[in-house]
């Protein structure tokens, strides 16, 4: 069919094609070329605009679609007949008509995956049609469908080949609906019922009885008790079980479990306040193949609890976030666990140098370590970490404020494999950064609220860490122009940068950052010196820009918006609070068809009619933050119209804050 089509084209436009070098290439080769045009959707667009031949080849190559407007769905789907994956996250309003269009389109039967997690306004009828006509559908994401009731779930049950289903926050679905899904979708491998508060033991029990192929089951925050546990653990292939926040499960119920689940690899029993080490030991004794265990916000980590982990020879990862930890508990983990690759003690209280050092010296295989907010830890621990765990790839140590600045040198000296380093709110200084520069694989570096670092230290990073993707300099007020310029020059693959409250940032910084063509997130909140000119440079250079935070950059005005509207067609989130943007600038943003979220508080130049016009013009808006005073002034019908389009309003009533006062406050706090 496709070939015939191209052949037709060839006859009609033989003269054109005669000079076309691509004529010699087979379709397969062009497909392979197209495979490499992955990142920027505009590239593919350009490709398809070359000629009719390319247009049709590109159309038949496209497998995944993420449409912006549901109105065009019939056209898009007929243009891209081989669509397998349909992502509707950019369409806040998806009605039954849209779903009917999808079902009846030519790609309906071949469609395998559909994402409706950000969409609303569809009902059971549309889902029913989708389930019955898209027979090959294996994946549906219906998270956040808070209005979906049991009839909707029953409609889903018609999708017999469904393998992956997300129903997070579908609070109105009850056991009956889940029962329908359990009976209808027997091939389910993944099921997420997080926050489905209407689903209880009976529904989950039936799922466990009927869907024998389940691999992943998320039951977070469900009001379930011990009654459904035995049948869940009987699932022969279950690998990942999440029981976060299931308060109904307690020690008594776990102690009665006789048979374990041999296939289980990951278990999350975070926030299960009624499970102590007794319950843990009884459940753990039946799951010997466990590799990942998450016990965050649970019972205190004591020696008996750690001893119960002794049986888990395969255990690779433990997350104890937010638990209170005893010395003996930590030491027991160190001595009982055979080889931990990942350990998270984020926000644990009671982590002391002595116990932690003991643990770290025993667990030399550690790759990922999270000691965020373990405030008792000093440089002694850091010395032990760096000396024994040289293979670390990820180290998160936000707010370990007792670690002296000299100690950070050790990180660079010993841990050369680091890819992710979080030093937010630490004493690290330029010497430390210079040393950290040796970690050439670094991709994520967070240096927020590091008041000791300056441009000089950051320049070292820029010179040596060329793979850097994400850099956070939030409120690191010692950083100014030259540091970030060095980063921009040395790290071409930079995608995210946060320079909020770095008051020294100027347009030059933006000009240099515009060289980072992959940049998609730029947060430069409260940088008073940057102007629309710098922003224009960014928009021209960084076509991928999706998120832009310009709050309190009061020199940014309509000119910047016009260049944004012209060049940044991928922009989705923008924060323009406290800037000098007026009606004109806001209205011009309407030409960005992707724009979904706007925060526009305290825009002095904004009038009511301008705002109304801009809101009407931005067709894809899903979320708008506005000052509460507009609520009463904007016409009710306009608001209703926008809400019907899928837009959600967040009304804020913050008083206007004078910028200079804020600066003083911040400097008082951090100096």
């Amino acid at each position: 069919m496709k070939k015939q089509k191209t052949a037709d084209f060839g006859q009609e436009h033989s003269r054109e094609l005669h000079h076309n070098l691509f004529e010699t290439l087979s379709e397969e080769i062009i497909f392979t070329i197209l495979d490499f045009l992955g990142d920027n959707p505009l590239d593919k667009k350009s490709f398809s605009l070359v000629c009719k031949c390319f247009y049709s080849i590109e159309a038949s190559h496209r497998r995944a679609l993420r449409p912006l407007r549901t109105e065009h769905l019939p056209k898009i789907l007929s243009r891209y007949p081989n669509t397998v994956r349909l992502d509707l996250t950019l369409c806040p309003r998806v009605t039954d008509t849209s779903l009917a269009a999808i079902s009846s389109s030519s790609c309906g039967p071949s469609l395998r995956s559909i994402d409706l997690s950000r969409s609303r306004f569809f009902t059971a009828g549309g889902l029913s049609r989708l389930a019955s006509e898209c027979v090959n559908l294996t994946e549906i994401d219906l998270s956040n469908a808070t209005g979906l009731r049991d009839p909707g779930a029953a409609a889903l049950a018609g999708a017999r080949n469904l393998e992956r289903l997300w129903l997070g926050r579908c609070k109105l679905i009850t056991d009956m609906g889940i029962g329908c899904i359990a009976v209808g979708c027997r091939r389910l491998k993944l099921l997420s019922l997080k926050w489905c508060l209407g689903v209880g033991d009976l529904g989950v029990g039936l799922v466990a009885v009927k869907c024998c192929e389940l691999r992943t089951l998320d039951l977070s925050y469900l009001p379930i008790s011990n009654k459904c546990l035995p049948s869940i653990l009987k699932l022969p292939y279950l690998e990942d079980l999440v029981l976060e926040g299931c308060f109904g499960i307690d020690d008594d119920s776990l102690s009665t479990l006789k048979h374990g689940c041999k296939s289980l690899k990951a278990l999350d029993i975070s926030s299960c306040q009624n499970i102590s080490h007794l319950g843990l030991s009884s459940i753990v004794s039946s799951i010997e193949g466990l590799q990942q265990l998450t016990l965050a916000h649970g019972s205190p980590v004591t020696a008996p609890l750690a001893a119960s982990l002794k049986k888990l020879v395969m255990l690779h990862s433990i997350k104890l976030d937010g638990c209170s930890v005893t010395c003996s508990g930590l030491k027991a983990i160190g001595s009982y666990c055979v080889s931990l690759g990942e350990l998270s003690l984020s926000k644990c209280s009671g982590v002391t140098d002595e116990a932690f050092s003991f643990l770290v010296t025993r667990q030399k295989q550690l790759k990922k370590l999270d000691i965020t907010c373990c405030r008792q830890i000093t440089d002694i621990s850091l010395a032990h970490i760096t000396s024994s765990c040289t293979g670390l790839t990820s180290l998160k140590m936000e707010s370990c404020s007792q670690v002296l600045k000299e100690a950070f040198v050790l990180i660079g000296q010993r841990c050369h494999f680091l890819e992710e380093l979080d030093l937010t709110d630490n004493e690290v200084d330029d010497e430390g950064l210079k040393s950290i520069g040796r970690c050439s694989r670094l991709t994520v570096l967070k240096l927020g609220i590091c008041l000791n670092i300056t441009n000089e230290g950051l320049s070292h990073i820029g010179r040596s860490c060329s793979k850097l993707v994400e850099l956070d300099l939030y409120r690191s007020s010692g950083i100014a122009e030259s540091g970030i310029v060095a980063i921009a020059q040395g790290c071409p693959s930079l995608e995210m940068i946060n320079t909020s409250y770095c008051y020294g940032i100027t347009d030059n910084v933006l000009v240099s950052l515009s060289k980072c063509t992959k940049l998609h997130t730029l947060e430069c909140r409260a940088c008073p010196h940057i102007t629309s000119l710098g922003l224009a440079m960014i928009t021209i250079g960084c076509k991928q820009l999706t998120k832009l935070d310009l709050k309190k950059c009061n020199k940014i005005d309509d000119a910047g918006m016009i260049s944004l509207a012209h060049f940044s067609q991928n922009l989705r989130h923008i924060n323009l609070s406290y800037t000098s943007v007026t009606d004109l600038g806001l209205l011009s943003l309407a030409s960005i068809s992707c724009l979904q979220s706007m925060t526009i508080l305290h825009l002095k130049g904004l009038t009511l009619s301008g705002l109304a016009a801009a809101l009407l013009a931005c067709g894809g808006l899903a979320k708008v933050k506005l000052h509460a005073s507009f609520k009463s002034y904007l016409p009710q019908t306009l608001l209703e119209h926008l809400q019907a389009r899928g837009c959600v309003f967040h009304w804020r009533n913050k008083p206007f804050q004078v910028k200079k006062l804020k600066v003083k406050k911040i400097t008082q706090v951090y100096r």
């Binding site: 009839p151 779930a153 029953a154 009956m176 009976v183 009976l202 008790s225």
Partner: protein, 522 residues
């Protein structure tokens, strides 16, 4: 409506009491021949334990009886059949009056026992006489034989009434007796038949002369009562009785339980407590006590209003279990795999549910029938609501039953009513209308299923309901007789445990329930 019915039954009871009077003429000529005083072996055996066990409580229970001594004594004297007996009886009553103050008097007990002994001897002689005249009796009319039988049972009843009153009451409901002659008789009758197995209904011998004048009336009414009483051949009666007594004796190893069997009339009687003054009947003694206040100041004292024997009820009692009078029933003590019933309420509910017509029909669905009105009320609470449907058309009253069903059968799936019908149901749940609700919900069910499956669902529903009712565990649960009400049972039946908060309208559940149980008490 119900009141009328109760009155009828009450009259029936009274009549059965009057029946033996027709045997009076036979009895009197026999009396002089009462010469052979030999104790039967069985009687003391089953007297003793109860006497010993309840000795402590005699004082208070006797005080109840002591309301009636004058009347009793008068009737005995006017009878003239045995003046000595009347004296003894008076003597006892005097002793009992003392006993009220002294709590427990061994001498009074001794008096009682000797009196009982006398009576037993008399009865024994009578039976001997009947046996000796067996041949003649065979030729006699059936009516005469029947009268003889009734005479004997009446005497036996009398003895046992005395015995019981000596031993104290066996039941919590019996602890307060009534003084008026009729009510007294009925009250006694209640205690007696619990012990008398398969015995006919009888009247205290002392009342015979009083009721003598009513003979013709009674004769007319013999038939219905004869129907209800187990019909034994008059000649077999004494032997059978002994057998039964022997059975009970055997079934009383120390520490084991005691089997009591109420009669059918007993079980079906609407009231168990009667006002001695005006004859009004009550289901609960507490209500009677409240009622008694209207009859004079002497009933308003704290002692008269207090719950009798409250302190003693916790003391060690011989375990009592109950037998169903229906022959062949598993709950009947003659059954091979006899399973006793725990309380009188269990007996009543069991008998009504299993051996009686289901006369209460649900006004909403017009399908379900119940013999116990409380069951109807429980059903009515859920009727029309909480229909758990399966795709196969089966309906369930409980969600877990539905899910069990679905887990068991391949291809069955929960059936969710369409959006419209759901809305209607929701409205109805809020509206609490009774009349139109049934029809509209039926419509909503029909809306999603064809009529055939609807019929099937009804049948299944009945079966399901029956299953849940017959479940012995829910009724043999250790609920105290006094504290038993429907509310506690409804709590067990709550279909979806912890999730009631998700169901709109479930908040008024308890309130509604409480109100209904109050009504059923009256």
């Amino acid at each position: 409506m119900e009141d009328l019915k109760m009155d009828d039954e009450e009259a029936l009871c009274a009549e059965t009491w009057l029946r033996p009077s027709s045997g009076n003429s036979i009895r009197q000529p026999n009396q002089p021949s009462f010469t052979n005083f030999t104790l039967s072996n069985d009687q003391p055996e089953w007297e003793d334990p109860s006497l010993l066990d309840y000795g402590v409580r005699i004082g208070t229970s006797f005080s109840k009886y002591s309301f009636a001594p004058d009347q009793d004594g008068q009737s005995l004297q006017s009878n003239n059949s045995n003046s000595k007996r009347g004296e003894v009886n008076q003597q006892i009553n005097e002793v009992l009056k003392i006993g009220k103050a002294q709590d427990w008097d061994p001498r009074a007990m001794l008096n009682n026992l000797s009196f009982l002994e006398q009576k037993i001897h008399q009865l024994q002689d009578l039976v001997h006489l009947i046996v000796s005249r067996k041949d003649q009796i065979l030729q006699q009319s059936d009516e005469l034989a029947m009268q003889q039988q009734q005479l004997i049972t009446a005497d036996l009843t009398s003895i046992i009434v005395q015995l019981i009153s000596t031993a104290g009451s066996l039941l919590p409901s019996v602890k307060h007796n009534l003084t008026g002659p009729t009510a007294m008789a009925i009250g006694k009758h209640r205690h007696i038949s619990e012990i008398l197995c398969n015995s006919g209904l009888g009247l205290d011998a002392t009342n015979i002369s009083e009721s003598h004048g009513m003979g013709p009336n009674v004769a007319n009414q013999v038939e219905p009562t004869g129907d209800t009483a187990p019909s034994h051949h008059p000649l077999d009666e004494p032997e059978l009785k002994e057998e039964d007594d022997a059975d009970e004796g055997e079934n009383l190893p120390p520490g084991s339980y005691e089997i009591l069997q109420l009669e059918k009339e007993e079980i079906l009687a609407p009231h168990t407590h009667f006002c001695t003054i005006c004859g009004k009947g009550f289901k609960r003694d507490a209500n009677l006590r409240m009622h008694m206040r209207g009859h004079g100041d002497e009933y308003k004292t704290p002692e008269a209003l207090a719950k009798p024997n409250k302190g003693n009820s916790s003391e060690a009692m011989l375990l009592k279990r109950y037998s169903c009078p229906f022959a062949g029933c598993k709950r009947n003590k003659d059954h091979k795999k006899f399973q006793p019933l725990k309380t009188i309420l269990c007996v009543k509910n069991h008998y009504k549910r299993t051996h009686c017509d289901k006369s209460y029909i649900c006004s909403r669905c017009n399908t379900k029938k119940f013999s116990v009105i409380a069951d109807l009320k429980t059903h009515e609470k859920h009727c029309g609501k909480d229909k758990w449907l399966c795709s196969c058309g089966t309906t369930f009253s409980r969600k877990d039953k539905l899910f069990g069903h679905i887990a068991l059968f391949q291809g069955h799936t929960p059936a969710i009513p369409l959006e419209e019908s759901r809305g209607v149901e929701g409205l109805l749940e809020q509206g609490e209308t009774t009349g139109g609700e049934k029809n509209r919900i039926d419509q909503s069910i029909n809306f999603s299923f064809n009529t055939e499956s609807h019929n099937g669902s009804r049948v299944q529903n009945i079966m399901d309901m029956k299953g849940s009712i017959d479940d012995p565990s829910s009724y043999l649960s250790p609920i105290n007789y006094d504290s038993f009400n429907e509310f506690s049972r409804a709590a067990f039946d709550d279909p979806d445990g912890g999730f009631s908060f998700l169901i709109p309208g479930s908040c008024n559940y308890g309130q509604k329930n409480g109100g209904q149980s109050c009504y059923s008490d009256l």
